[in-house]
Symmetry: C2
């Protein structure tokens, strides 16, 4: 990382005050009017809460590809519920984690999440590093299922 | 890399028949209607010939960010000519390498090339690995300065 990038590392705790349970660490390499690329770093079992990327200013919402680089990621998207999911929903937050179609990503594996689709994800026991390739990122437009979340 | 990706490694020799001089090796991770992500692997001193990405079907042409991961990349774009460039233009090809504004990228450094802008690049003595984040890739639309090139 270059110095400007080091200053640009983002800690997202979503206004919930328990970063190690629900939170995310991000490095954004580029985010312009056409595309975006980030690396996401997750602590062991750390969870990014359920959200979706709605249309913004007449443009379709963010579409994104998660490519696992290190560790394991349990990703949940809309679709048929997986009978016994590997991820653990944070205690007391069951109502805010509604999609349960499980995708497991190990290093070198990736999955593309369509626009306007609910998703959440959790790192495995070791944590995880995930590259995110996407259309333009507009975090302030994200819609979270948990009404307590402030982005 | 997963097996489908291994089958998807691309060797671009541009119809010139001297891959180690002018050529490129690519792995495409994703290329959809919104964005694209690839890794480019270059042999020592291997050169990607000068080209630009024009508008396609009323959409602005490809915009791309090169992020050096390993080795050194000498990148040339439109703008004031650098007085003594580090890159070596392939012999006899001088007329097809017209832009000489030099940007040197070492690991962790990156540069974004605007749409519709001529550029070419060459790896340093050790070769290079470069991540390319971009808008949708439509290689068949690329315009090369060298009329002998077939993409």
């Amino acid at each position: 990382m270059t110095d400007p990038e080091k200053e640009n590392v983002e800690i997202a705790e979503f206004g919930l005050g328990h970063l190690h349970v629900e939170g995310l660490q991000l490095v954004t390499y580029v985010n312009n009017d056409r595309y975006c690329a980030k690396d996401l770093v997750l602590f062991p079992k750390q969870t990014c809460p359920e959200h979706l990327h709605p249309p913004v200013n007449g443009e379709p919402g963010k579409k994104e590809t998660f490519r696992c680089r290190w560790g394991t990621v349990y990703l949940y998207v809309e679709g048929e519920h997986t009978s016994e999911i590997q991820g653990k929903i944070p205690k007391g937050k069951e109502e805010y984690y509604t999609v349960k179609h499980e995708i497991i990503l190990n290093p070198g594996e990736q999955y593309t999440i369509p626009t306007n689709t609910k998703h959440w994800f959790q790192a495995g026991e070791k944590g995880a590093i995930v590259s995110e390739f996407s259309s333009t990122s507009r975090d302030e437009a994200d819609v979270f299922t948990d009404p307590n979340i402030i982005r």
